[in-house]
């Protein structure tokens, strides 16, 4: 089984390749969208590269819980409800949602994912 550091190195390589960023920009704390400039289409490439690098399959809904974020049962006035947050935590146990919980605006969710979250997700698949 790959160590956390090995996972990070492979994730870093995939992100450098997919996003055209420098090694040192891909820190564990960096957010995918805000810091690394990933656009929605880049995630196709990133997911493909991670699947190839780790020999895993990444179902889209595991990384992008769009169904929760667009479900009226879990969203009110543009914010994720307490039930919605519980649902998100269940779906994304590897993601650090503590900051998001403070003001869970749906529009901010896209910028939540960090490199470390991605590493933890990959580790959960190995």
């Amino acid at each position: 089984m790959a160590s956390s550091e090995e996972v990070f190195e492979k994730v870093q390589e995939a992100l450098v390749d997919a996003l055209g960023v420098e090694d040192d920009e891909v820190t564990k704390e960096a957010t995918m969208v805000g810091d690394l400039g990933a656009e929605s289409i880049d995630f196709l490439d990133i997911v493909f590269k991670l699947e190839k690098a780790f020999g895993i399959t990444i179902p889209r809904e595991e990384l992008f819980p769009d169904d929760i974020l667009t479900n009226a049962e879990y969203v009110q006035d543009g914010k994720v409800t307490a039930d919605g947050l519980t649902e998100l935590k269940g779906r994304l146990p590897w993601a650090d949602l503590s900051k998001f919980e403070e003001n869970p605006r749906v529009q901010d969710f896209g910028n939540l994912l960090t490199v470390n979250d991605l590493c933890r997700y990959v580790e959960s698949k190995l």
């Binding site: 289409i41 880049d42 196709l44 490439d45 699947e51």
Partner: protein, 179 residues
């Protein structure tokens, strides 16, 4: 202006691989004018040709009904150039396909020698981008026939792929209207 940078399909295996040929000729303005005094076929158009090859490979999977655009060139490594009289062979392989996009790997040969490696990401647009099709069906049908896609195209089992009904009927209607 016609914006086709492939001449014909040489091979087409549905959902797997497509190979196209592009002959470079001095009579093309882009070859003559792109860099006066140094006639060659621009690399950017080789990428466009691969996008057309890979885009049609992807598009055929849903009978050419989806709106597919080149969203990202993740890799474009070239060695050498193509000049008048050269023949390019563009091979596009479909590596991954999701509901909203796909990844295609491209290899280009010039006169049988490796010339370029490409990585392309396509977006499959949903109705939020409008419901209109990108192409007039009768025109698209004529182009696909001219490119000989249906002459060489086979499905994963090796059976010839058919002209989709909506394209065939649009083509018939256009021909009747022209009579």
């Amino acid at each position: 202006m016609r914006w086709y940078w492939i001449d014909r399909f040489e091979k087409f295996v549905s959902g797997v691989e497509a190979v196209t040929i592009k002959n470079v000729t001095f009579s093309e303005e882009v070859v003559y004018d792109y860099l006066p005094g140094y006639s060659h076929y621009p690399h950017s158009l080789i990428i466009e040709g691969m996008a057309q090859t890979g885009g049609l490979l992807l598009s055929q999977l849903e009978d050419f009904t989806q709106k597919i655009v080149l969203a990202k060139i993740s890799k474009a490594e070239f060695e050498g150039i193509a000049q008048p009289g050269d023949q390019l062979r563009l091979t596009a392989r479909l590596l991954s396909r999701q509901t909203d996009g796909a990844i295609v790997e491209g290899h280009v040969e010039v006169n049988g020698q490796p010339m370029a490696t490409l990585g392309l990401t396509f977006a499959i647009l949903d109705d939020s981008f409008g419901k209109d099709q990108f192409f007039i069906p009768s025109d698209l049908c004529r182009v696909l026939r001219a490119l000989r896609l249906f002459d060489v195209g086979v499905d994963a089992d090796g059976k010839p792929i058919q002209v989709p009904e909506f394209l065939a009927s649009a083509e018939s209607a256009a021909l009747q209207a022209a009579d």
